[in-house]
Symmetry: C2
Subunit: 335 residues, 2 copies
Amino acid sequence: MLIDNSFYMNLAINEAWKYQGLTYPNPAVGACLVGKNGEVLAVEAHHRSGEAHAEVNALKSAYYKLTKNEYIFKLTSSLDIHKYLLSNHNNIFINSKLFTTLEPCSHYGKTPSCASLISELGIKEVYVGSYDTNEVAQKGNAILADNSCVVYTELLQKECDDLLLPFKRSLEDNFVYFKWAQRLNATTDDGNVSSIESRIDVHAKRNVCDLLVIGGNTVRMDRPTLDARLVDGKAPDILIYSREKEFDKSIALFNVKGRKVFIENDFKRLVSYKNIMIEGTSSMYELTRDFVDYYLCYLAPGFGGSNKFDVSEDNFDILNIRQDKQDIIMWMKRI
Amino acid sequence: MLIDNSFYMNLAINEAWKYQGLTYPNPAVGACLVGKNGEVLAVEAHHRSGEAHAEVNALKSAYYKLTKNEYIFKLTSSLDIHKYLLSNHNNIFINSKLFTTLEPCSHYGKTPSCASLISELGIKEVYVGSYDTNEVAQKGNAILADNSCVVYTELLQKECDDLLLPFKRSLEDNFVYFKWAQRLNATTDDGNVSSIESRIDVHAKRNVCDLLVIGGNTVRMDRPTLDARLVDGKAPDILIYSREKEFDKSIALFNVKGRKVFIENDFKRLVSYKNIMIEGTSSMYELTRDFVDYYLCYLAPGFGGSNKFDVSEDNFDILNIRQDKQDIIMWMKRI
């Protein structure tokens, strides 16, 4: 195995995918900080909007690794971490290299600019995967270069662009992903298919979705709640795709506070939302094939059940796979 | 993500799984060498019997990384690498840490002992996953300890033992694994399911199998060759499990030189073999469930076909997953 710059960037990319679908309205971003002798000091990601960016999380972890000073773990706001690092870095980062999947931000938004922080800490080498095309945040590479930092762009750019696509799509119009869970034999019935860890992960994603799309038959058969109770989260609005408008309103999903439920026979509603999860069966897959950006499959390693997820011929590129205790979590795009 | 000793051992474990099924009669082993400042110098594995052990491959890569001396790449025999390192190491490894999934060997077999090499290079910290219980090779940890090396045992031992199980089973009686390829919708028909990379990987595994088991119906329907032509390898002996003993002998598998073909209605033949792959359909899966050690699934990320791999309820622990260009390669065991 080659231990090269791609190795470090891949660590950052894989860490970021763990939070794909959770960072909206922010992008999923990963960062890896490598010390002067090539030691991996930190591999971190951006976790959710309002929290520290990936670079800041990586600098925070690396600060602890280099100083063993636990005080920094008491700081949770990005602003506090920025201030603390600026006052206490003692040039420990000067010969470090930073690998980040996305051009560091240049704007002072919810958090101070990462590009200025990196510069002020004296980091002289930054490897960047994707360019930031967000007009407010871009110019990070330029700020770094203006501050004697050598910026190497386009490292694993394709992989970093795949990671960034959900964010870009949500800026353009919306990001739509189709999620399903199945066993190895493609079954989706007979009790919980997914592990509790996978179901918690789905609830965390629902918590930051603004719209969840589901088929009318599924609602009638499963009588689901479709909220984010496993993470104490916000229940997304629901679009029930159905010709038949009549539903038993005692079905749990209709009785979640603060949620809108639409019952419609088309997908026009999607234009009003930005981060959209479709939880579907095979027939929903076929109906939405033309406008789904990414597919997310929770694959349980087992056999059982009888109803199968099965659609007409299609092929995917796997963007990321990881194992979460029991299940495999796969992000894919159609090719 | 925590960058700790488990991180380095996991790098070694994942590298080793790439060669699971290829190292017979040797174990699949991985090694990671970490420099004095925590830098990853090398992550390597044992590739095949007769070639260098994982530790030697890691030391070879690390030597190049530290010296930039390309001469070492000219050396392919383990003995030559040992000799070269012993004469030329200049104490560059003295403060390195070695992570190895298996206790370093202590015997001078096809290659000189890894334990003595590690000691003579002055490495003072070795982290070991599994104990070597092979009477000829064990005592590696003791040799290291006798030479002022601190040996930390049982790091990720369960994961390392899972990696080692095929080797242990082949020493006890035999290692039997069931291999199949399917799409996401569990289909196994309609052209090649797997990518060319996966098929090459299967042929490489056939090359070191001593027996390949297949069902009579599959032989009649598919008329397969079941050799290792994609890697210019050796064709394994074949056990056709079938009640009906008559086969059209013009089917390719009967006409491969140097191979034995058995047509039998039981699995008694397996006791005469050590490293056994079953390539099967659902019915073969059901027949062999009680004596299969591991399952190997090549999962193609797509839909299509119609004949499905489907068996009665079963659940697995995933031992390792990796993506090989297009497909996912999963090693599992029944739970």
